[in-house]
């Protein structure tokens, strides 16, 4: 398979580009922020995503979805990133769907996701930095389990219908075995979700689980074998976050290159200065390399290739590095106006920072690659 979008994928990209640009441009995000919107995204827009079929991209045709892959999900995510559109698409239609796929939970949650009614959030992180370890306790209790502990950086966690929760049913935090993944309704007794506004104006919850009781059928997959669905979730989430970052970095770069052509100083466009040309050209190169890494990961994931995990870490790390450069160069080359709230480039910097951190930053994934390679 060649490493570029095929005709159908290109058509989907054009559709997604038109749709997101029309319905959720950066001004949409700005308006939600200015209104101190308590949801964090537009539910109407989520419905429209469903009407467009986007929420079913990764859901099989037998279950009413489109039965497409990570390349197609990524095409939509890149447009979300480029427009900084607040959306539960990544957590719900990508990461949660992949975790639930093929499990008994799929029938329960997929219809709502397909309809654009259900929102899912991912309760994975237990500290400020994403780690592979899972320490939160889930103890057997009656017919089910009792969850006790805390999670953080749970995007949409305060409004989600469904929380995907990683907890430990056996062993110690760093063990692979003994992790169980749960599908927990947000209205479960003992669950408190406290939304925190992040730097990019998105809302992520700190969630306290105070002896939350769930039935045995809340288990996603098998008890103690939650690494399987969790790995599916993380592979999809990381690849998706990388695709969204490509949009953020690419959007920042395009805006900046446009500014270099328009802005005049000393009587000429500042883009005629070699000092800026070389920085822009270097940035372009980094973004191209990141784009290839993302497409490679998506294709390997879709092919079920055993090298997919490595490619996913490369994609997440590389887009983190390239996008972090893109947004910094963006603000710097815009000069003073780049520091103003009125101008959009600053939003790209904030969003890029949040996505770089999500599901493990470049250092986390470089470390993972090194461990896998035996050093």
């Amino acid at each position: 398979m060649p490493l570029f979008l095929n005709d159908e994928q290109t058509m989907l990209r054009d559709t997604a580009k038109d749709f997101v640009t029309e319905h959720a441009p950066v001004s949409h995000m700005r308006a939600l922020r200015d209104a101190k919107d308590a949801t964090g995204f537009s539910r109407d827009l989520w419905k429209q995503f469903a009407d467009m079929g986007f929420t079913g991209i990764l859901i099989g045709e037998d279950a009413g979805g489109l039965g497409l892959g990570h390349v197609e999900a990524g095409v939509v995510l890149e447009e979300i990133g480029r427009n900084l559109s607040p959306s539960p698409f990544l957590t719900t239609a990508v990461a949660a769907v992949e975790a639930l796929k093929g499990t008994a939970q799929a029938d329960r949650w997929f219809p709502g996701i397909l309809a654009g009614e259900t929102v899912a959030a991912l309760a994975i992180d237990e500290g400020a930095k994403h780690r592979s370890s899972v320490g939160m306790k889930a103890e057997r209790s009656g017919n089910g389990f009792r969850l006790t502990g805390a999670k953080q950086f749970v995007t949409h966690g305060h409004v989600a219908d469904l929380l995907i929760v990683a907890a430990r049913t056996a062993g110690s935090p760093d063990d692979d075995a003994g992790v169980t993944l749960f599908a927990v309704p947000r209205d479960a007794a003992g669950l408190t979700a406290t939304p925190e506004r992040l730097a990019d104006a998105s809302l992520a919850a700190r969630i306290a689980f105070d002896g939350v009781e769930v039935d045995a059928d809340a288990v996603i997959g098998e008890v103690d074998a939650g690494r399987d669905p969790l790995s599916r979730l993380l592979r999809a989430g990381r690849t998706g976050a990388a695709a969204e970052m490509l949009g953020v970095g690419g959007g920042a770069m395009d805006m900046t290159v446009g500014y270099l052509k328009d802005r005049k100083q000393f009587g000429v466009a500042i883009g005629s200065f070699q000092a800026l040309q070389h920085r822009a050209a270097h940035l372009y190169s980094e973004m191209e390399v990141a784009r290839a890494a993302v497409l490679k990961a998506q294709q390997l994931l879709d092919a079920g290739d055993e090298k997919a995990d490595q490619a996913v870490s490369v994609a997440k790390a590389m887009t983190g590095l390239a996008t972090t450069l893109a947004v910094q160069e963006g603000v710097q080359m815009h000069g003073g106006i780049g520091m103003t709230d009125e101008y959009d480039i600053g939003f790209y910097m904030k969003s890029g920072r949040v996505l770089a951190e999500m599901f493990g930053d470049a250092n986390f994934h470089a470390d993972l690659l090194a461990k896998t390679a035996g050093y």
């Binding site: 050209a281 190169s285 490595q310 994934h365």
Partner: protein, 395 residues
């Protein structure tokens, strides 16, 4: 369901298994291991010769060239399968050649039918080794200011002047050369000619480099007669051919960024030897480990970009200036790789002549990489091209 491509893959795998000698599945360790072909093949080992000839006769040294010019006539998809199957058994490149990577594509586009029939098959079979006469003492980054002249003498040109940084000119059989045919017009006064390095009036002088090697030469032309039929493209339109060829040269050089992404990472092996590992198997120097790991991210991402670039190129979808980006990134990456290698190896890798260091192999290779971002257009020239042609920034 078995597709044609599956069948091709199975056949290719069987043929490679039968025809690639075991020695040609070992990693390339030094310059000596690289096969360049040419009239003088006395330095080749029997395995090198067998592998080059087997691939050359099948046209697989140039798998996607047309069969009538000595190529394999393979489609883009088949070529990719061949490369994958060669990588699977770690088969060495059977033939390194400026004829394949630079002149061939230019002749396919600009050459006459006679030129293609005459020159391409012997390039494919590794019978003639080519060198490139581009840079001059006063024409480096500003290549179009070149002054080597070709005077029209009726049935031939009379070439006079000097080239510099001519890679392997002292070992090459023929040269593709940029010459000035009109002094009044800078870019539109350059022509692209081919001639035999054994011609009367051609002399070469190797230049000793910081690596202690002399891969580059000064090349002198003193009344060299070049037959008119050896002009490629139109008279005074050689700059178009030169630029097209430079794109291919940049692609080739960008491939240097690909080292070290195989199963065994030589950087890591060197680091393990010199700093050791802890109980957890991790390198005992955490800062070096972090540098290697972050480098690995870029190296693997660039490998994906190289694959994407080739796929786009074969499908005619690549931006014409994209080779500049590939060249820039690949060469900077390769320089970083060797800086890390020297840092990982410590004083072991500083030895210049010892047997243990194989005569300073890595130290010399480290210094050699410094030319990567100079030859074929400096990194700064590539950034200029990206800025102007891809980003369309104003001049």
């Amino acid at each position: 369901m078995t597709t044609d491509l599956d069948t091709f893959r199975a056949d290719t795998r069987a043929w490679l298994d039968a025809n690639c000698p075991p020695e040609m599945r070992e990693p390339v360790r030094s310059e000596k291991d690289a096969v360049w072909g040419g009239r003088d093949q006395s330095a080749l080992t029997p395995a090198q010769k067998q592998w080059m000839d087997a691939m050359g006769q099948r046209g697989w040294t140039v798998p996607d060239w047309p069969t009538e010019y000595g190529g394999g006539g393979l489609s883009a998809a088949e070529t990719k399968v061949l490369r994958e199957e060669m990588a699977r058994i770690r088969a060495r490149n059977p033939l390194n050649s400026f004829g394949i990577s630079m002149l061939g594509p230019a002749l396919l586009k600009y050459g006459t039918e006679e030129q293609k029939k005459r020159f391409l098959p012997e390039i494919a079979r590794g019978e003639i080794r080519w060198c490139q006469g581009y840079s001059e003492p006063n024409a480096g980054s500003d290549l179009a200011s070149l002054a080597t002249s070709a005077e029209d003498k009726g049935d031939h040109f009379l070439v006079n002047g000097q080239k510099v940084w001519t890679s392997y000119a002292d070992k090459a059989d023929w040269i593709f050369c940029l010459v000035r045919t009109d002094r009044t017009n800078k870019h539109n006064g350059i022509s692209f000619v081919l001639f035999d390095m054994a011609s009367e009036g051609v002399s070469t002088k190797p230049i000793l480099l910081i690596s202690g090697y002399s891969p580059f030469c000064e090349t002198f032309f003193d009344n060299v007669k070049v037959p008119k039929e050896n002009l490629v493209g139109e008279l005074n339109k050689g700059w178009d051919v030169a630029k097209y060829l430079l794109g291919h040269e940049r692609e080739m050089i960008s491939g240097m960024g690909l080292g070290g992404t195989g199963a065994k990472n030589p950087l890591v092996e060197v680091a393990k030897r010199s700093v050791g590992t802890g109980d957890d198997g991790q390198l005992a120097d955490p800062l070096l480990r972090a540098q290697l790991a972050l480098f690995d991210v870029r190296a693997k991402a660039f490998a994906a970009q190289s694959e994407r670039f080739i796929d786009e190129l074969k499908a005619g979808r690549a931006h014409p200036a994209q080779p500049s980006m590939m060249k820039y990134y690949g060469t900077e990456l390769n320089k970083t790789r060797y800086e890390l290698l020297m840092s990982a190896g410590g004083s072991d890798e500083l030895e210049w002549e010892s047997e243990a260091s194989d005569g300073g192999r890595e130290a010399r290779a480290w210094l050699r990489t410094k030319a990567n971002s100079i030859e074929g257009g400096t990194s700064e020239v590539q950034l200029n091209i990206i800025a102007k042609r891809i980003l369309e920034l104003p001049s």
